[in-house]
């Protein structure tokens, strides 16, 4: 079925890289087009945060800051439990294109395998229990 690990988009924007950079990397910028509220500590290892009017929030960790060309962060995979350690990596690349900017965004890491995806259901003991289901069904029917 094809498990997408990586999403990539490139768009041409009619504004110079410095303006696009500000929109991507400042609280004012992020809260104007991405979240409804935002905070950011713009340095590798710094934390960033966005909140939406729906109540949803996103915690980000800044990974790459190469003004005005590369901005990267990781964030939690939406929909997984809070304690799940897996995160996707988002990287924006800005290239001058005429008077504007060619902006590429790549988000990767959707196809990570959780540590226990093949956990104890596949060890001998529990597989034994599962395969005895038929016999136990008979036993339970009789009970």
């Amino acid at each position: 079925m094809g498990f997408p690990d990586r999403i990539e988009r490139t768009v041409e924007i009619a504004h110079p890289p410095a303006r696009v950079w500000a929109a991507l990397t400042t609280a004012d910028g992020l809260s104007a087009w991405f979240g409804n509220e935002a905070r950011i500590d713009l340095r590798p290892g710094g934390s960033a945060w966005m909140k939406w009017d729906s109540g949803h929030t996103a915690e980000m960790r800044v990974e790459r800051v190469e003004e005005p060309a590369v901005f990267g962060f990781t964030w939690h995979i939406y929909g997984l439990p809070e304690e799940d350690p897996r995160r996707t990596y988002v990287e924006f690349t800005l290239e001058p294109a005429g008077a504007g900017t060619r902006l590429t965004v790549v988000e990767s890491g959707f196809a990570q395998l959780p540590e226990d995806a093949h956990g104890k259901a596949y060890d001998g003991n529990t597989r034994g229990w599962a395969s005895e289901l038929g016999e136990l069904a008979d036993y339970l029917d009789a009970a």
Partner: protein, 115 residues
Amino acid sequence: MPPDIEAIAEQVFVALADPSRRAILAALASGGPATATDLAGRLPITRQAIAKHLALLAEAGLVTAEPGERRRVRYRLRSAPMQVAQQFLAALARDWDSHLDALKDHLDRGARGSA
């Protein structure tokens, strides 16, 4: 990429495609571990059909069988395969097209405002 992540996600979607299996998984999620007999008492599905579905779900790693009281097998939901399937859905739901449109609109508004 791990070779079997697709297989795990596929098993989840196959399991969820059947309304009886969805009902069984929903019952285990809401009520906790249960025996086939417990489930037959709570769902409009015969115990024999529940046993077949539980065998398929155990094979897919979506439930584990564990010893319960009075030598009965109890089934417990396993979330790990669901989390693999959620990653698949998260990738489909990540709407960068809308976000990038919003970014362009924001920059255009700013340009007009400062002009």
